[in-house]
Amino acid sequence: MAETFEQAEQAAALIKVTYEEQPAIVGLEENLTSAYKPAAGLGGAATQVTRGEAEAAFQSAAVRSEQTYTTPVYHHNAMEPHATIAQWEGDKLTVYDATQSVMGVKGLLSVTLGIPAENVQVYALYIGGGFGSKGFTWANTLLAPMAAKQFDRPVKLVLSRQQVFSTAGRRTQTVQKVSLGADSTGKLAAVKHATISETSFVDEFVETAGVATTMLYSTPNLDVSHELVRLNRGTPCPTRAPGEAPGTFALEVAMDELAEQLKIDPAQLRLINHADMEEQKKKQFSEKSLKECYQKGAEVIGWKNRKAEPGTLREGNYLVGYGMATATYPANRSASTAKATLFADGHAEILCGTQDIGTGTYTVMTQVAADAFALPPEKVKVKLGDSSYPKGAQSGGSQVSASVGPPIRAAALGAISKLIRLAIADPSSPLHGYKEEEIMADNGKIHLIKEPGRVETYVQIMNRKGLDKLEAQAKTNVSTRPSTPAPAPAGSPEAKAEEESKANKAVQEDEKMDRKDYAFHSFGAHFVKVLVDPDLGMIKIDRIVGVMDIGTVMNLKTATNQIMGGMIFGIGMALMENTQYDPNNGRVVTRDLAQYLVPVHADIPEIEVHFINKPDTFISPIGARGIGEIGITGITAAIANAVYNATGKRVRDLPITPDKLIS
């Protein structure tokens, strides 16, 4: 055990590991013939989805487009590397971990170390980005507690950037064949999307690239399949919009190719094939305003300036191109619990065992709570990232806001309701004897609705009652997942919250809603203008306009920032990022930020984000669907389509680097 970083690093370099070498199985494209059908995708998702007779319908379609699209391995590269600090006090373990799920790490450490869950305390107060990589738990999280035990002292373990490339997950490589058949009016007769991706020899991870294809456009005949090849690489894991991000590249470029064959405007082709309902599940969408997204995006970017004939628009030395694509991501929600406390000094607190990975959860939940407490935001403290808090959602699948917002709101409302009932029951209160429905809370006070002068502050009520605090808990069991959440273990904080929630009106209303006939999805449209230097193959994105339909926008700043962040991740995917493995031994070659390029300031164009901002009243009382991932879907295709429109060169293999444009 080293005392300093310098020592640790020097000592590690002295360790000589010898291997018995065997031939490595390294390339996906070289090993496609060993593809097999995995039993299930991420979280048990089906890997093959069909309706109608796709093959026959495709063969007899008037217009057909069939192409193969490939995407490389990408690494998340959150700026903060994976890191863990572990400390034991007797049997009790305290862990500070860079994780997207304090609750997940707690459970996992308890199981893997064989110690009771209540002996594990996990903190992740701030996380320097995750993008999926910190949703899985990697060696550092387990090794630090083991070393701490062995040496009986706190241990800090931080991965180097180079180690992040080999030991902490990645997005898998894909080869996707998309076949679109349409009638002469552009109506899709058949859609086929066959994905082969890769995983390691020790685990199975399926990038469900075809998942959006099952619901994005209307078609009677569909065949979406996923196969896997095992390679000598580390196991992949979810990366911002796992499935949709690479999948929409293939589908949305294919749509552009089809539009060109049909001589139909690409945006128009999307309108022609608009899915009015979720055709695979045969459900209504809870809320969908995609048509407005297309319209607004086209207007803002100046889509009418686009020339259908590629390579015909110039600005100085540059060829100019416009491209567009649809964005989509499911709206997820899972069971979550929160605790609300009003204090006698007039401030309030929320505890929730979720975490903020940089997406603005602290900010947005402060707003939700302040609203429900009827207090100014400065008086509300939201505390997250602590596994001793009531269990909140994992930060993944864009679900945090939709999942923890409702119980936070319900718990805060529950606390206020308790306060109101105290006043009603108290003969010395001016509100004594009135009904709860007749009273409302506003800015730290409760008053009679019809007689606002009949008022009392939270502080007055609590002081008179000699209370230093007033607590309420809420658990909402709503989940967009097929399986019903497991009941909370008896005696756990969640079970207590569930019990208390039976009397909580907000929870009851939320849970009562019948959601089974609805499909929950966010939508959007990206419009991109690029400038291409045709001689040097250099691409300059000039402008991106994104219009997003994500339900209620809870905070315009954080929402805009999230969408822009997704788009910029997409710029990286489209134009520069890719992880290269040595073709001989399969080790990562491009294992640092000088060789694995991510976008820098100078790559960023003028980006405009617009929102439809129509509440989704079915997902939750708050009306917001998640936003962390939709921004990255479709954007790579919009860029690729714009490059094609500028140059007439169709690059179906990401990233689109200068060498591919000049060849």
């Binding site: 294992r591 100078a602 200068p658």
Partner: protein, 327 residues
């Protein structure tokens, strides 16, 4: 990093004496040396801090040229008013390299001496003749999209990474060095070595020798010069290809052209065959294309880098076109 003694020196002779001890390295900005020490690629026993030596000035020479101290920071050189006005090729090359922070640290001497960015050189898990002579070259059959197409050998195909050096090659710079036996001058073209059978021998400094200055000559036409760098992202990346060009054009004819290429050679690549085509020819696109063909006529590509040959030609043609338009 391996432990080392950090020795701060205040005069040249002390620096040279200390550097003669086995396992010594000078350190200036540290942006390359520390990087490599962290990866156990450089393992000096003594690190000699030369930042207090008196080589951080830029002086104008009687012939109109410049004498640049080896410790001048890359950013200070790039923004020096004389460099901006008289040697845009040098300023542009410097500003296209690394990042503002790194340019604030990096010195001219260190930039001349910076080592390749070949990914296999940077990773001690792989064979590399440059890092570990005789161990083989993993890049030859590995991922070699960024590697060189000019000046390669069967022992090493690593690109020289510097932008500044490409401009200095075109500018015919002279390097002043000081050693135990006094000072000497090294013409720029003789400073960096081709890999041949000894890719670990990268330059022609003798043990202990210290770079003190770099001279660039006065040239009547050096204002008509340009550096163009092509890369995968807009900034903060090494070159796929680059070109430094200076043109003396009179009455539509090229009197003299000075051309060097980056990103393609195992050393900063002076393109003499291109100069031969250009000298005396008319300044037009056809000439530039012919020059580009000549510049790359000896190129040899590997598995992933054939594109560099075409891209380098186009880079040179564009750089020439741009420079010719400067008045």
């Amino acid at each position: 990093m391996e432990p080392f003694k950090l020795i701060r020196v205040h005069d040249n002779q002390a620096a040279i004496r200390t550097a003669l001890m086995a396992g010594s390295r000078f350190i200036a900005g540290g942006t390359n040396l520390i990087d490599l020490m962290k990866l156990h690629i450089e393992t000096p026993k003594q690190v000699v801090d030369i930042n207090k030596l008196p080589f951080s000035g830029i002086e104008e020479l009687p012939d109109g040229g410049l004498r640049i101290g080896a410790l001048v920071k890359n950013s200070d050189l790039a923004y020096h008013p004389v460099v901006i006005k008289k040697y845009p090729v040098l300023s542009e090359a410097l500003l296209s390299g690394a990042s503002p922070q790194l340019r604030n640290m990096a010195s001219v001497g260190g930039n001349l001496m910076q080592r390749t960015r070949c990914p296999y050189f940077y990773n001690t898990d792989f064979a590399c003749n440059k890092r570990n002579p005789g161990s083989g070259c993993a890049a030859l059959t590995g991922y070699n999209r960024m590697n060189a197409v000019l000046g390669t050998s069967d022992h090493c195909i690593a690109t020289h990474p510097s932008d500044m050096c490409v401009a200095l090659a075109a500018l015919d710079a002279t390097i002043h060095v000081q050693g135990t036996k006094g000072s000497r001058l090294i013409p720029f073209g003789e400073f960096h070595r081709l890999p041949g059978q000894t890719p670990h021998v990268e330059h022609s400094l003798l043990p202990g020798e210290l770079i003190t200055h770099v001279d660039i000559p006065g040239m009547s036409y050096s204002y008509r010069s340009h550096y163009l760098k092509v890369r995968d992202r807009a900034s903060y990346e090494f070159a796929l290809t680059s070109a430094a060009v200076l043109l003396d054009i009179r009455g539509g004819r090229i009197q003299k052209a000075d051309i060097a290429l980056g990103g393609v050679g195992t050393k900063p690549w002076r393109a003499v065959p291109a100069e031969k085509v250009l000298n005396g020819a008319s300044a037009d696109l056809q000439t530039y294309r012919a020059a580009a063909e000549a510049a790359l006529s000896q190129a040899k590509s590997y598995k992933d880098n054939a594109y560099k040959i075409e891209l380098a030609k186009r880079t040179l043609v564009r750089a020439l076109t741009t420079a010719a338009a400067i008045s």
